[in-house]
Amino acid sequence: MTDQSAAAAKPAKPANNRIAPPSLLRRYGSQMGIIGVGLAMWLAFVVAAPNVFTNINIYLAFAQTTPQFGIIAVALTFVVITGEIDLSFPSIMALGTAAFCLLVQAGAPWPLGLAAAFATGALCGWINGTLVSWLNIPSLVITIGTSFLFRGLELVLMNGTGVPLTAVDYPEMHAIFRSTPFGIPIQSIWMVVILIGAWFLLNRTRFGAHVFLVGDNPTSARLMGINAVSVKTRAFMLVGVMAVFSGLMTSIYGYYFWPTTGEGFLLNTIASVFLGGTSVFGGTGSVVGTFVASYIIGAINAGIVSAGINAFYTQLCFGLVIVVSVVLQTIIDRKIRRQSITGR
């Protein structure tokens, strides 16, 4: 808030000088909005069911499940900022985990299986990214296609059967993806580590800078020598790798790899990105917003049931929170830019 008070203290500028330092509200308006929505919702849950929401167990539960889609959402934020979308990540989750299971079943050591799984994710992302950026195919269309392709390949490879992933057979994998060091679920530790890494990647590397520029105006970016094809391809590869990370985490959490792994993840993940204030038009977005939004969506899941509300209300509540937040974000954004509410 120091920015704002400093600006207010300065004498008024001449009318022709419309350049003024942007306020904190302007720069971080949508992030502050989403954090506000999160706090409001949490307070509502606390009031509705105080004995549940003052107990640590509810937080432990959703700290384990939220990162399963939140980690992908953080990576997907990059793709959305470049102005694209990836709908194939649920299939990549399954295909990468299948690669792990098949290799380990064939006698390979688990680190090799892990490496192969991530390589599979990167390859899937590379295929998506190349089709989208090099051949200029709309990502909405082509990733529906590759989604079937990856899922189909996984079902054929697995012959439709699952693989048990017990703690006895896979002690290291359970230590990596399912332990609770110092009482904190490791899933959320991973999520925080990945958030920090993603923040640096987006805000403190050339790749991140180019993600914003390519999403804002691809022609301008190319005129200034930015390789838009490479930037978009790398963003899709990031989603691929993170999808596999999540696929392994989800499967280990359930002690079993289901060939249907990833189903039901699509809307939660995409909703987290948009709820977090990343624009569907590309060029603007924030991984911190996505992170908070993921936990809001995760909290609705865990909270509704724990608060003793009928689980049928979950989707209704989802819909309300997402629609109201996105409408509020849009209105706040236009207020800040001094546009009319309807944007016309």
């Binding site: 500028k13 350049i19 942007p22 800078a209 914003f212 970016a221 200034m224």
Partner: protein
């Protein structure tokens, strides 16, 4: 065709027999074009004569059709690209400005060549402070009101052009290309832009200057290329031709497609 007295020395950039075809449209055919050190070359021609295509070919945004050659300081370069051209010191102020309007000024200023710290991370602090300095020193914004975090879409046309010109100036280019830099500018902004072009020459650098307005082009250039329908219709040394003769010939080219 009236020949210009060719300046001596090695050209900074030279195009030999460059053609460019988009589908069935031939935008450039058999262009020979050179810019020598310390000279300002004007590029004239009607809409659709191929001026912008030529500029984007010089910049590496378009690659020439087979058979065309690009030479930089006496060496033929095959893998010409925008990144390569900018590395070698060619900067352009594009007609369409090539800004990313949702981004703050500092991101636009260093677009495509962001400075990094020794850890390999983006030097955001330097990008912000350098942008603030450039804006007050070169763009004439009063320093107290300037903020590098302002989003470009909130600025006026002249201010946006200021960002685009300052960006080309900052990197101390060997060759600066200005594609219609005075379009949509006020009188004082235009005068400032023309001063900037003269300043390039004083520092011993070269420039290509494209403008519809011959009264802006003629006073600042040393040589002139006239383009018509994708061909070089004529090359003139300024000492060979007065502005009146030039205007007369431009009319004739537009009507007949030939200078004589």
């Amino acid at each position: 065709m009236a020949d210009a007295t060719t300046p001596t020395g090695t050209p900074v950039i030279e195009l030999r027999n460059v053609s460019k075809t988009f589908g069935e449209v031939r935008s450039l055919s058999g262009i020979d074009f050179a810019v020598y050190p310390g000279e300002i070359v004007g590029l004239l021609g009607d809409n659709g004569a191929g001026k912008s295509t030529l500029v984007k070919t010089v910049m590496g945004f378009h690659s020439p059709d087979a058979g065309g050659e690009i030479w930089f300081q006496g060496a033929r370069i095959d893998d010409w690209s925008v990144a390569r051209a900018r590395d070698l010191g060619i900067e352009t102020v594009y007609q369409e400005r090539a800004l990313c309007e949702k981004q703050p000024i500092w991101r636009n200023m260093f677009m495509g060549r962001e400075p990094r710290t020794r850890w390999g991370l983006l030097d955001v602090k330097k990008m912000r402070s350098e942008s603030a300095r450039l804006m007050s020193e070169h763009m004439g914004f009063t320093s107290a009101a300037v903020h590098p975090d302002n989003v470009v879409s909130t600025m006026s046309g002249g201010e946006k052009q200021g960002v685009a010109i300052t960006r080309a100036l900052y990197f101390d280019a060997q060759l600066v290309i200005l594609d219609e830099p005075t379009m949509g500018l006020s009188l004082t902004e235009t005068a400032k832009t023309l001063d900037f072009v003269r300043n390039i020459k004083e520092r011993g650098k070269s420039a290509i200057f494209i403008d519809h307005n011959i009264f802006h082009v003629y006073p600042v250039v040393d040589r002139l290329y006239v383009l018509d329908r994708g061909r070089v219709a004529g090359v003139y040394d300024k000492s060979q031709i007065t502005m009146e003769e030039l205007i007369d010939r431009l009319y004739r080219v537009a009507r007949t497609g030939s200078l004589t």
